[in-house]
Subunit: 350 residues, 2 copies
DNA sequence: TTGTAGGCGTTATCAG
DNA sequence: CTGATAACGCCTACAA
């Protein structure tokens, strides 16, 4: 026992020397690769612990050509949605005994490219969610020696797996529900303009309107950015409309909550005066007043499935058939739409 | 141009060969280290782009002994709190042009140890938030060749920097406020039993009670776990108490919202029948009904500061004085406590 | 301004 | 069962 505290950098060589064996043997016990005499194995483990040795992961991945890590690129870390995605990813990654290299806030193409570059050599595969960068410019940056899963991207390239939420379908079901309950003037609080999900949700909104014989109107489409404050402002804008919409479909739950807050402050009742609905079904949704009618999305499932697909591509190394998954959504009718007791609306044809 | 698509593994050697220079020169242009003829520099960049070359980060960190990455260990990824912490960390890390290796859900000691081991060689420093693992057992696992910042840990070791929220102070101020408003029976919905923050908030709660001459009572302390559902159940339990508490202090906002929901369902008015307050001031807090009175914490600041401390320790390599920061909190009085118009309570002595 | 060569800490392939 | 030893891809003196 030469360095009791092991204060500097203790390598596999130190352990080998101390144990009177070769580095190969030490490597074997730490990887369970190849046979090692139980006695020497125990001694090596013991000495490694005394020296506080831990394998250097960088060296390991360099040599083994596997990193045991997945890279994740997200546009932003804001709000319950991304939180849930990451959580789903993390749980799945742990199930596969892997790790996570996280990078976020990449809306510019150059930022995505930079983040992608840094991932090289550190990850075995990449999960990329970048709803704001347009598709064509994105594909040029993607590495071709690593498997990539695209999340909620407006891109369906045969070179990559993709997973997305049925945004349009969920929105259409939600708005269809409001229409089925008798509403004729339904407003929308949209998400960020360049955001793929937001656009799809808007598309579903418009489709539902048309399917019910209602022509979408520009002044019904209030701008938003997925934040509570945007919902608040949108509701104020809605109140200024004449004739005033009787229902408000927010592109996510946070904005719906913000909108309800503004309506209440303005002396309006939800749902009696204005029905309000959201999208995502975040945990908080059922606990606000009134409980929020919304579109349920298995958000963490989105992340988990991405990991599973990636791991599958990783193991079935060469021959992996790309897939394009669409995660279904479902209507969750609570109090904020005011039509709990009506029959569920039938999904209108596209 | 030998491999137009560069479909396999292109290394620095390939670029060097193609450009007719040595690997050293290529390395220089990619690191801006040492002088390189502008012409050859341009040619190398050009060829690297053609070949789609990107340096292998594992090799780079092995050789350079720096990874440009910080490791983050969190107990869980649930809820707005952790979401905000990560966001703060990520933003700060980007400011420093570094990256993030994330790992979570480590409540067991062995899990923390494992995660710590895997970080070796991949990170330059570690941010660890582990409020559930007891302090002594934790310190044994910490690496001594890497700088570590402890977040919200019940540990104040001279070997590590620590940052924590003024949990007790914030709780005491909040409960003091309720008492100053005339409440005498104030209940608590606690956080996870083994959680350090949760204990501190309870300590502040009790201290405030005693400071006002009110003896804490066991039946006032309702169990919780930081989830909306726990708050919901706690409120139901509160309603069964006789005499019934007139105020409820939830150890976080999510539980406060859950509690308000249960009270409303039971036909009680907030704050008239029962005042409800929370902790954290998550974005949603101001938009619930009624707006939540809570304790404001600069959550993302907690993460950002951790990064700054770590980076400071990294640059001032040898001589870095450990510090123990405490993030202040502040009272945010909204509608849910029913005492908006009263004067702010004076902070009671401990 | 450029090239050579040794080393970073592991793994993996052979012989023994 | 164990030990040399050649990669892995890059950085960095040192030399030219």
């Amino acid at each position: 026992m030469q360095q009791p505290g092991g204060c500097v950098r203790v390598t596999i060589r130190d352990v080998a020397r101390e144990a009177g064996v070769s580095v190969a043997t030490v490597s074997r016990v730490f990887n369970d690769s190849g046979p090692v005499n139980p006695t020497t194995r125990a001694r090596i483990r013991e000495i490694a612990r005394e020296l506080r040795y831990a394998p250097n992961s960088a060296a390991r991945s360099l040599s083994a050509r596997r990193t045991g890590t997945l890279g994740v690129l997200l546009p932003d870390l804001h709000g319950a949605f991304f939180s849930e995605v990451i959580r789903g990813i993390d749980l799945a990654v742990q199930r596969h005994h892997h790790h996570l290299l996280l990078s976020s806030s990449h809306n510019e193409r150059s930022e995505v490219a930079a983040a992608l570059r840094v991932m090289r050599g550190r990850v075995d595969g990449i999960i990329l969610m970048s709803p704001a960068v347009d598709a064509e410019t994105l594909v040029a940056e993607l590495p071709d020696d690593l498997p990539v899963v695209l999340l909620n991207c407006a891109l369906r390239d045969e070179r990559f797996d993709t997973i997305e939420i049925d945004n349009a379908g969920g929105a259409q079901a939600m708005v269809g529900h409001l229409l089925a309950c008798g509403h004729r003037r339904v407003a929308l609080v949209g998400g960020p303009p360049r955001n793929h999900d937001a656009r799809e949700r808007r598309r579903g909104y418009r489709a539902a309107l048309r399917a019910a014989g209602v022509e979408p109107r520009a002044e019904w489409e209030l701008p938003g950015d997925y934040s509570e404050g945007a919902g608040h402002r949108a509701a104020l804008a809605l109140l200024a409309l004449d004739p005033r919409p009787t229902a408000l479909f927010a592109a996510n739950d946070a904005m719906a909550v913000g909108a309800m807050s503004a309506l209440r402050e303005a002396g309006m009742r939800v749902p009696e005066d204005v029905a309000v609905t959201g999208f995502d079904d975040v945990p908080m949704a059922r606990y606000v007043t009134p409980p929020l009618t919304t579109v349920r999305v298995a958000i963490s499932e989105l992340g988990a499935r991405a990991v599973d697909v990636l791991m599958a591509a990783l193991t079935r190394d060469g021959d992996h058939r790309r897939g394009h998954d669409v995660l279904p959504t479902s209507l969750v009718v609570r109090g904020s739409c005011g039509c709990r007791d009506r029959p569920p609306p039938s999904r209108a044809p596209p």
